[in-house]
Amino acid sequence: MSKVLVRPRNASSATTERPAVRVLLIALALVFLALFLILPVVLVFAEALRKGVAVYFATFHDPDALAAIRLTVTVVAIAVPLNMLFGIAASWAIAKFEFVGKNLLVTLIDLPFSISPVVSGLIYVLLFGAQGWFGPWLKQHGIEIIFALPGIVLATMFVTFPFVARELIPLMEQQGNADEEAALTLGASGLRAFLTATLPNIRWGLLYGVLLCNARAMGEFGAVAVVSGHVRGFTTTMPLQVEILYNEYNFVAAFAMASLLTLLALVTLAAKTLLEMHYGEALARAPRV
């Protein structure tokens, strides 16, 4: 697949629209984007700051708000590294080796992307819920998974499962095995070949995947809502805290919490764009949707 990198922007009029049509199309696209994408983001900050900066910051002194932030950070600190490790292992096996059933494996890894967030939560309730497969056994042994931290972590891991793997697999396939084979020929151990030959090749792609994985893990709502039980101060993550506050008509606090998540989204987008601009060659060239 070759990509045309130079786009003739001032091509003759035979291959572009009349200026008036051009302006109209640009205006139409911009109005649509402003209405659907930009305005909601502006509104989040406007609503959060509606009663002033002091009130905005005061909302974060609420112990429940702090507990929600702490819980989200905890969940992400467990789920993202585990999925990163999985992504590296899966892409090593899939991209560097030829084996039977590879396509099936890739399809299975992508599966969580095509499953509704609510269903992603539901499947863990069916496994670990009070009336689930392991429910009675867990209860006997006093282990809590659903309506507790482990359930939230599992649901988050499920929805963010493919992110790193799906970025690394095409990238490592493009790079081939030559670097690693050279390292091995020169007497490096397998681990050393990975650390000195593979890792430098994939580091930007890895960062890219982890970035997207992290954003989704922090913001996941549907799957976590199903397994959390909404126990205030204990099992409410930041997005769930947004929901609770909003439903209590505590709009300033709801939008204040939402503004943190929005900032996270904006930082993620900025970092993603910078990576694509500066290290585009070191990322997978497949369209990322």
Binding site: S2, S13, A14, T15, T16, L25, I26, L28, A29, L33, F36, I38, L39, P40, V41, L43, F86, A90, A93, K96, F97, E98, L105, L108, I109, S114, I115, S116, P117, V119, L122, I123, V125, L126, L127, G132, W133, F158, N177, G190, A215, G219, G222, A225, V226, V242, E243, F251, A254, A258, L261, L264, A265, L269, A270, K272, T273, P287, R288, V289
Partner: protein, 276 residues
């Protein structure tokens, strides 16, 4: 037949083993629980839940509005992708980055922002109110939320194809006497059809399974503005695992059909155009 081609690289067993165990525990085991639960219900049990009037209404709302939203996104996705690749204007890079916002913004945040934006006495809602148009807490609100979450899929599927179009075929078309809109309609757009179909399917799949951004703006009135995922949550809150599973299975079956359709479309377009 060999199960694996020989390779000089080490670590295959470890990497594949770890992958399979992790995949099995996190993805396959829970999905197996769903399949077993569904098998316990049997086709008759699932059918009974599927044909309840409230379920039918929720499925109709979910699938109908997701289709409509994906369709609108397809049109505007093409427009946005075209404008972003073909024209130069101030802020183009920024706008290009902003297209991914629905991927990055948590759905709950999008939900409360859209619900507030379109509430009768707020920014857009107040503009529409004099015309008797209500968006928040009606099916139209669901539509708006779905358009938001699914937009990047259509833009990002079409965009790389527009970049790759060989400008010389447009020149050839113009040389042969075609007007610009004939060239666009007969030469350019046919090249983009497969990608648009793929984008449509992806957008539809995303929209139909959406939960977080919809619940705040929908009002969640049974038979009117209650989507299928909301019904699953309600059944779960009643500890009706069977009912929740039945609806989930119906939605999953549809998701698989969509995935299959996407794969077939991509295979077809690859044969026809040699890329995507």
């Amino acid at each position: 037949m060999r199960l694996r081609q020989p390779s000089a690289l080490p670590g295959f067993g470890l990497a594949l083993g770890y992958t399979l165990v992790y995949l099995g525990l996190i993805v396959l085991l829970p999905l197996a629980a769903l399949v077993m639960q569904a098998a316990g219900l049997g086709p008759r049990g699932i059918w009974a839940v599927a044909t309840e009037p409230r379920t039918l209404a929720a499925l109709r709302i979910s699938f109908g509005l997701a289709l409509a939203a994906a369709l609108l996104d397809c049109v505007f996705g093409l427009l946005i992708a075209w404008v972003l690749t073909r024209y130069e204007f101030p802020g183009r890079r920024l706008i290009d980055a902003a297209v991914d916002l629905p991927f990055a913004l948590p759905t709950a945040v999008a939900g409360i922002a859209l619900a507030t934006l379109y509430a009768p006495n707020e920014w857009i809602g107040a503009l529409l109110a004099p015309f008797g148009v209500k968006v928040a807490f009606t099916p139209a609100g669901i539509f708006v939320a779905l358009v938001f979450v699914a937009l990047p899929f259509t833009v990002r599927t079409v965009q790389p194809l527009i970049v790759e179009i060989d400008r010389s075929i447009e020149e050839a078309s113009a040389t042969l006497g075609a007007s610009r809109h004939q060239t666009v309609a007969r030469v350019v757009l046919p090249l983009l059809v497969p990608a648009m179909l793929t984008g449509f399917a992806l957008a539809f799949a995303r929209a139909v399974s959406e939960y977080g951004s919809v619940i705040f703006i929908a009002g969640n009135l049974p038979y009117v503005s209650e989507i299928a995922p909301v019904l699953i949550v309600i059944k779960l809150e009643e500890y009706n695992y069977a009912g929740a599973t039945a609806i989930a299975v119906i939605m999953l079956a549809l998701a698989f059909c969509i995935l299959l359709a996407i794969n077939l479309l991509q295979a077809w377009s690859r044969r026809r155009f040699g890329h995507v």
